[in-house]
Amino acid sequence: MIAQWGEKAIQAWKDAFYGFGFFWLVIRESLKLNSHRGVGWRVVVMQILFTGVNALAIILLIAVSLGAVVIFEGAQLLALGQTDLFYNLLVTIITRELGPLLTAFIIMARSGVAIATELSNMVISQEIEAYMAVGINPISYLVVPRFLGVTVSMMALNMLFSVGGLAGAWVIVQFLQPLPANEYFSNLLIHLTVTDLVASLAKSVAFGMVIAVVSSFHGFQAKQSSTEVPVLVIKAVGRGFALLIVVNVIITLGYLL
């Protein structure tokens, strides 16, 4: 029993070490994207289209729904004269905490799964070896465009979530509990600090990197059989979610301290 735990711990340590090496490779190759002979940018655009543009509707729906609930419930604080508390709560939930995390979860579930599935299938069908055989580095040609595409999309969708959750939701709430636009938006701008925006942006960049690297890393773990694909995808999603939460805590602690 103890030996098994020990083996698992050693394996987890090895995986983490290998994962950091993979992350470093992706960063190094990303810095050289311009020298990749022009074939990588097309994939970046396609990835932004899939991860960013195609996820607009679901992100907006969740942002507006969540924002409307928070505004509607929190508006009771206004009646009690707790204006600062209400707007701080809104900014904390929508812009700084739940917004980036929910957006990341959705992207992990959509694009993370797609990347892990696609890459593991490519390994199994020897497509990765075919790239290597013609001299194309699979990290720079396959992972870097996905890495950049997912990170850029994550930043854009996170901003959209904030706009949808704060502004879009206000429109919805007007039908239930009118809040004067002037008062609402001017108070919001007062309580929305640059630090909040920087924390939100930092989270979106970090989350985008985590999603792309974790899903690509697990995709490349495939060896021979198509039955490995679902197992690896489940691992990618599970570990991706866990890492997103850990990174979120680290950045939030950095913000609070």
Binding site: R37, V39, E127, E129, M132, A133, G135, K223
Partner: protein, 275 residues
């Protein structure tokens, strides 16, 4: 600047160990494959022929030992050296290994786009059409890999391997699953490539292909080199295990008392009769 040794052997395997979890293979492989000839790798299924080819092409790294390609160790190459070397070699996969999200045209085009980033559209088109013509798949250029038979996928893989007009071709069972006419056409193509001075490293189970193309043979059995050398020498090797492998590989049911060259020449006659 790349410093490939021009007169170095094609491949030098030195104490190579490779044993993936699923199938332990090479325990201590030491072997030299010369440049400028057609070397055919033979052996029963599971002997490690395809793995040998992938190791030699630097697609998978050995666990220990070194593999030199034209005097350069795969594991010591810089990114630039790797790209330059790969431009001069083509690899045809046993299963085709085509990029499923690209059309046949794009599959053949990509290596050219990558190695000749400044090439004009017409130049690329000419290169793709030429390679597709050599492999006999011009009519399929607009299709997707999933729309092709396995044989056709291999031909696309061959066209992709030929598009850069490489000096060295790694061929993993290129004629498997092809009809007699396509096989004959490919043998003619390989024969021409050989006469142009290109180096072929070929895995095949087909006696006719071996008989027509092989200058040298490498016989593998369970991850070990049983024998290697010039075609005529190997086929005259009196050892029973060599004879047994050649017999089984060449699918000859008859007793193996005579010279293998005679058996192979019988295949030629059969082929001629079929024509």
């Amino acid at each position: 600047m790349i410093t490939a040794v021009t007169d170095a052997p094609l491949l030098v395997f030195d104490s190579v160990v490779y044993s993936p979890e699923s199938a332990p293979l090479f325990a201590n492989l030491t072997l030299t494959v010369p440049i400028g000839s057609c070397t055919v790798i033979m052996g029963p299924s599971g002997a490690g022929k395809s793995t040998f080819l992938r190791l030699g092409a630097g697609l998978i790294p050995p666990e220990s030992g070194t593999i030199q390609y034209r005097g350069l160790d795969w594991s010591d190459l810089s990114d630039h050296e790797n790209v330059v070397l790969r431009e001069g070699m083509g690899f045809v996969f046993q299963n085709g290994a085509l990029w499923a999200n690209k059309s046949v045209y794009q599959n053949i085009e990509l290596p050219y786009l990558y190695h000749r980033p400044k090439a004009g559209r017409q130049e690329i088109r000419d290169a793709v059409t030429r390679a597709a013509g050599l492999a006999g798949i011009r009519a399929q250029l607009g299709l997707r890999p999933s729309q092709l038979s396995l044989g056709e996928q291999k031909l696309v893989s061959l066209a992709r391997g030929l598009v850069m007009e490489p000096e060295v071709l790694f061929l993993d069972d290129p004629t498997g699953g092809l009809d007699a006419q396509a096989t004959e056409k490919l043998m003619e193509l390989f024969s021409n490539l050989k006469h142009e001075g290109r180096t072929l490293l070929l895995v095949t189970q087909e006696p006719a292909v071996t008989a027509r193309l092989a200058d040298r043979l490498v016989l593998l059995k369970a991850g070990a080199v049983l024998t290697t050398g010039a075609f005529a020498e190997v086929t005259k090797d009196p050892r029973p295990e060599v004879a047994a492998i050649l017999t089984s590989v060449l699918s000859q049911a008859a007793t193996f008392s005579g010279d293998i060259l005679e058996l192979l020449s019988i295949d030629h006659e059969v082929e001629d009769t079929l024509k």
